[in-house]
């Protein structure tokens, strides 16, 4: 028996959430095989050993350079068989989650997504998942021998536990049906810290008064090596791209630090940030509801406080 981990990459590097998936699988105890699809840097693949993979498979078929859900499903189902794996672990994402769904049906596995913790195995195999958009958790038992587990960010800490391993090429056979969904083109932000992956997020709301004022938030984000986010009205008004909108109907983030500037803290916004470890709120209204969900708060004008904060951070480096 082994555990298979599907690792996702962006710009040739393994995503941090996938390193967490490798760490999670390592903590489960059985030998871990990681599998990467499409173009990934060799060094990044070898380094998966450090996070707990005994073996790394690389399906470098160029047709897998884009994340095609059904093709990825076929490859992972076959790899589970080849590796005699009962468990597939992966990270929740726009690719990972639908792939998890399809693999679970094809393999007859018990499926859980949005998983937040290592399983309790004293009686059965029980995982905890985040539900009601972060407002609650459900403990569910995965009863089938085969299991597919998709992790929410921070379900395990990516720690170095081993050393580099050799990477084995993995040959795939793919059919036309695997490419029924044809990817025509894509637009991806490059060189930026991706919001769902970020350790620190600097987020702005309607209090920022307009797209032209985002410079001070971007400067703060750059100083902290953070991703930028926003509230829903901000993306609705086109001040920021849709993929930066955080909340119930947007991205759910789980960074170490979330800095909210000029955001009132509506419950739908909080739903996307309540898994953050620490929350800082900067708002000129002392009664803004966001302060109740914050760890640290400053009542003040964003246009005054943010540049000063950026300066203080630079000075403290």
């Amino acid at each position: 028996m082994s555990i298979l981990v599907f690792v996702e990459s962006a710009e040739g590097q393994i995503k941090k959430t996938s390193l967490e998936a490798v760490a999670y699988a390592h903590a489960l105890g059985s030998p871990v095989t990681a599998i990467a699809l499409g173009a990934v840097d060799q060094g990044a693949l070898e380094a998966l050993g450090k996070y707990g993979a005994q073996k790394v498979l690389h399906a470098s078929d160029a047709r897998l350079n884009e994340g095609v859900i059904q093709a990825y499903t076929s490859v992972l189902v076959k790899a589970m068989q080849d590796e005699n794996a009962d468990i597939l672990v992966l990270a929740n994402s726009s690719l990972g989650t639908p792939v998890a769904a399809r693999v679970a049906i094809k393999t007859g596995a018990s499926l859980a997504t949005n998983v937040t913790d290592l399983p309790e195995t004293s009686s059965g195999f029980v995982v905890k998942r985040s539900i009601y958009t972060g407002k609650a958790f459900a403990k569910v038992e995965l009863k089938n021998q085969k299991k597919v587990i998709a992790l929410k960010k921070n379900a395990a800490e990516a720690k170095e536990v081993g050393s580099n391993v050799t990477v084995t090429p993995y040959a795939v056979t793919l059919s036309d049906a695997d490419f029924a969904v044809k990817i025509l083109s894509s637009e991806k932000a490059t060189g930026e810290v991706l919001l769902p992956e970020a350790n620190i997020v600097v987020s702005g709301g309607r209090g920022m008064k307009g797209a032209e004022h985002w410079g001070i938030l971007e400067e703060l984000a750059k100083t902290l090596h953070a991703a930028t986010g926003c509230s829903k009205p901000v993306s609705d008004m086109g001040w920021r791209p849709h993929h930066e909108h955080v909340g119930q109907t947007g991205v759910k983030v789980a960074p170490q630090l979330y800095i909210a500037v000029g955001i009132s803290g509506a419950i739908q916004h909080l739903a996307g940030v309540n898994s953050s470890k620490y929350i800082v709120v900067i708002n000129k209204d002392a009664d803004a509801p966001f302060f109740k969900a914050a760890d640290y708060g400053i009542v003040g004008d964003a246009f005054d406080v943010v540049p000063k904060l950026t300066e203080a951070l630079k000075a403290a480096k």
Binding site: P98, A104, I131, Y132, K135, E141, L142, L257, I298
Partner: protein
């Protein structure tokens, strides 16, 4: 063209969540229920497609107990033609998806629209499972959907961007904004919804391999530490030395 829209009946986004029976049951006391916000986008897009294409019908489906009927009627008031309720507690994703797939097989839809995720279970998998069960492609989360004859062009949101894809009908899509604007029922819609057909069918048994043990609420948040606006250095020091996050 026949379109199926699958809707959930979920607590309003402002609801406080509580459980009863030793944390094994959701407590609906004082909770207002709505159509899942993402499902509402799917429904709105389906109605737009219907309005632009004569002869198109929109059926809504919910797997739920009789309590969900007001929510189903609201979808009919928004403009769906008829509805199906599979009479069961929606216990898990495979159970729900199996009921949807069974119904879809019996009718043969050209397009099955859902939300990207439910806001109670947040699984994000029912569309993928239905696709797999019906042998159809599935695409999610979809921000734009245009039908062009027997094909469709879609925009799918990915981390940090978008992907443009093409797929032949039939397929399953999990929708999100800005695919369409939410629609509000008008008086005529509300009146006509009362007499539109709502069929109740019994579920198929499924052994899903997943069993709920218990719900849990997150621990309460500690009190906020306030820092003076002219003392940002203190914030920096707290983030460094107390929170240890920078």
């Amino acid at each position: 063209m026949k379109i199926l829209v699958c809707i959930t009946h979920v607590p309003d986004t402002t609801s406080k969540i509580n459980f009863t029976d030793n944390n094994t049951k959701f407590d609906p006391t004082g909770v207002q229920f709505i159509i899942g916000p993402y499902d509402d986008y799917a429904l709105a897009r389906a109605i737009e497609i219907k309005e632009a294409n004569a002869g198109t019908t929109v059926t809504v489906l919910n797997v739920g107990t009789a309590d969900t009927e007001p929510t189903i009627r609201k979808a009919l008031a928004i403009g769906a033609d008829d509805a199906v309720r599979v009479n069961a507690e929606p216990t898990d994703s495979l159970f729900v998806a199996t009921q949807i797939a069974e119904h879809a097989k019996s009718v043969g839809y050209d397009l099955i629209l859902m939300g990207r995720e439910s806001i109670d279970y947040n699984s994000g998998v029912v569309h993928g499972i239905v696709g797999e069960l019906l042998g159809m492609p599935s695409v999610s989360p979809v921000m734009k959907l245009d039908i062009e004859g027997t094909k469709a062009k879609l925009a799918r949101e990915i981390e940090g961007g978008k992907e443009y894809v093409e797929v032949s009908l039939p397929f399953v899509a999990g929708c999100q904004e800005p695919i369409a604007e939410w629609k509000i029922p008008n008086m005529r819609g509300i009146m006509s919804a009362r007499t539109k057909p709502l069929k109740v069918v019994e579920p198929k048994a499924v052994d899903s391999g997943v069993k709920l043990q218990q719900f849990e609420l997150p621990p309460p948040k500690g009190a906020v530490k306030m820092i003076a606006a002219d003392n940002v250095a203190e914030l920096v020091s707290l983030l460094k030395n107390e929170a240890k996050v920078i």
